[in-house]
């Protein structure tokens, strides 16, 4: 089924486009006349350029990073020398890493993605009906997705500003004391998660909604005939049918949430204290700000390895959804 609007599946095969008189049948080479597997050279040609770009700008840097992480390459020691695992030890025993950056990242990931998928599912189901203004609503809901996380960070910081922010002004008008949102770890974390939820829930809404649109009608018809209520239908039919979609979006978004940087850096810089330090800000701080490149590289590699392991573990699910259902 095509998801490309306005492009109907072409019926009638090649005869529709080929001018009369030019059709020639060459049964001898028929097998080479489709894109099928024997066409190895062409396949390689197709991926040559992207592979080169990826090699140069992503894979080689990673290899370089790994090499550096085993040396002492810093600005005060630019010659560097072999350092064994010393950088990794320094990273792993750095309290900023194991007490703050790593746990914070996982907490952020769990909370943010959890809220986003629940909210996204809820809103997607909600708008999956006809209602006045539906086109406008569905359009407007895309906006947060397109706004830069830095700008989202700015917006929410402004709303929660201790002195001039909207939230505290509202509290004051109700006679309540203002909260120093960015002075306390829990509230600072909360506002960051709020900003992330705002930015990414529409992404979930969009994709889940598309998923809803492509669900088969039969189970729902059957449920309606059986007299099932909306909540049971949702719980027992909609959600299970959406598992493939949900698993993909949760996975993709989780990988992205692990490397969160923009929002945190803009709003708190990892503060107050270390309360909102995450993996991304940690690597940035060690490797870039303090000019300790080899240690920064080690920190970067630790996170990379961690998430790559997870990536490999979940690849099965991923591939099955993206590839599996194509077999037809």
């Amino acid at each position: 089924m095509s998801t490309v609007p306005g492009v109907p599946p072409v019926a009638g095969g090649h005869a529709a486009r080929v001018a009369p008189g030019r059709v020639t049948v060459r049964p001898r080479t028929r097998r080479a006349l489709s894109w099928l597997d024997r066409d190895t050279p062409f396949q390689y040609q197709l991926i040559l350029l992207p592979a080169l770009v990826m090699l140069l700008f992503e894979i080689l840097p990673i290899v370089h990073g790994i090499v550096i992480s085993f040396t002492s390459f810093t600005i005060w020691n630019p010659e560097g020398g072999f350092a064994g695992f010393r950088n990794y030890v320094r990273v792993l025993e750095n309290p900023l890493f194991y007490r703050y950056a790593l746990p914070n990242t996982f907490i952020f990931l769990g909370l943010a993605v959890g809220i986003e998928v629940s909210l996204g599912l809820g809103v997607a189901v909600l708008i999956n009906r006809r209602f006045p203004g539906q086109r406008i609503v569905k359009t407007l809901l895309i906006l947060p997705l397109l706004v830069a996380p830095v700008v989202a960070g700015l917006m929410f910081y402004w709303m929660f500003h201790a002195e001039f922010g909207l939230v505290n002004q509202l509290l004051a008008s109700l006679g309540l004391p203002g909260v120093l949102w960015f002075n306390r770890p829990a509230t600072a974390f909360g506002v960051i998660i709020l900003a992330d939820v705002w930015t990414w829930t529409p992404w979930f809404i969009l994709i889940i909604y598309a998923g809803l649109q492509s669900l088969p009608p039969e189970p729902f018809e059957a449920a309606r005939i059986d007299g099932a209520g909306p909540w049971s239908t949702f719980r027992l039919i909609t959600v299970p049918l959406l598992y493939p979609v949900l698993s993909i979006v949760v996975l993709i978004r989780s990988f992205d949430a692990f490397r969160v940087f923009d929002i945190v850096w803009t709003m708190t810089g990892g503060g107050p204290g270390n309360a909102t330090e995450t993996f991304g800000t940690f690597v940035y701080r060690i490797g870039y700000l303090t000019v300790n490149w080899s240690e920064g590289a080690a920190a970067a590699m630790v996170g990379a390895v961690m998430i790559m392991v997870v990536g490999i573990l979940v690849y099965g699910t991923f591939a099955r959804v993206v590839w599996g259902k194509q077999e037809s």
Binding site: M1, V4, R17, P50, A148, F164, T266
Partner: protein
């Protein structure tokens, strides 16, 4: 799934409106702040109908912050890197759509694994390489790195779109004696134009929004707005009027795309799940 007719259920519809308003609210509030005269910035809601462009004027003329230059750079770099990305990843997505063999699966696995790696893990070494090889703080450096960034995602999007286009036309062209690349360029690509639009628009916005790459690979030669904004809270302190105005200007592409190109965004992202 057939949509149900629920005209009568006012509560759910009202809920929808509330949710939509909640999502729009931060944007509206920032815009309101930006359009207030500078003295009213600190009491945005209580200032009646007062309206002014002063914040925008001040932001663009902000001494030393180089905002105009930053916006221009961000636009140039987003455009160039998106075009480059599209050229590079169209064949990749096509390959994943048309082939099922071991090479295709391996390629998919490679781009998947590379995408799981946190950006910062290859950005830091890339930054070091950029210094050693002299492409730090150059247009070439950041454009090429941005192009590399989205290979995986675009490949997925194009895979989805090419799966929806017709193989028959391409095979017909091959029967006619077209070379494979010729068929690709002249038949497959034009059919995927909606997908190209979707990926292009999304990609442009992402390029426009990019922060981490910019932090690592640019410096004084190439100011970019995302980096400027990221320093606002820690370094610019109390200039909220200008900061709000800058934020509003930064959101302009998002607003324009939402208003005029949402169809493509929906198509692009909607195709990701592919049943």
């Amino acid at each position: 799934m057939k949509t149900r007719r629920r005209w009568g259920n006012a509560f759910l519809v009202a809920l929808i409106y509330v949710v939509t308003l909640a999502f729009l609210f931060p944007v509206l509030y920032l815009a309101l702040t930006a359009f207030r005269p500078p003295k009213d910035v600190f009491s945005v809601l209580g200032a009646g109908l007062s309206f002014s462009f002063a914040n925008f004027r001040d932001a663009l003329g902000w001494q030393g912050v180089r905002i105009t230059e930053a916006f221009v750079n961000s636009a140039i770099i987003a455009t160039t890197s998106t075009v480059l990305s599209l050229v590079v990843t169209l064949p990749s997505g096509f390959m994943l759509a048309r082939y099922r063999n071991r090479l295709a699966r391996s390629w998919f696995f490679v781009i998947y694994i590379v995408r799981t790696i946190p950006y910062i893990s290859w950005l830091l070494p890339l930054f070091l390489l950029s210094q050693r090889f002299g492409f730090h703080d150059t247009y070439t450096g950041i454009i090429a790195a941005q192009a590399a960034f989205h290979i995986t995602f675009y490949s997925w999007i194009f895979k989805g779109f090419f799966e929806g286009t017709s193989k028959e036309l391409e095979e017909a062209a091959l029967v006619d004696g077209c070379a494979r690349w010729g068929a690709f360029v002249r038949i497959s690509v034009p059919l995927a134009i909606p997908g190209i639009m979707a990926a292009g628009i999304l990609g442009w916005i992402w390029g426009w929004n990019e922060l981490l790459l910019v932090l690592f690979l640019t410096s004084d030669h190439i100011p970019m707005y995302s980096k400027t904004i990221s320093t606002f809270i820690t370094e610019m302190g109390v200039e909220w009027g200008r900061m709000a105005a800058t934020g509003v200007m930064a959101m302009l592409p998002a607003v324009i795309v939402t208003a005029f190109c949402h169809r493509y965004i929906v198509a692009g992202l909607g195709g990701l799940h592919r049943r």
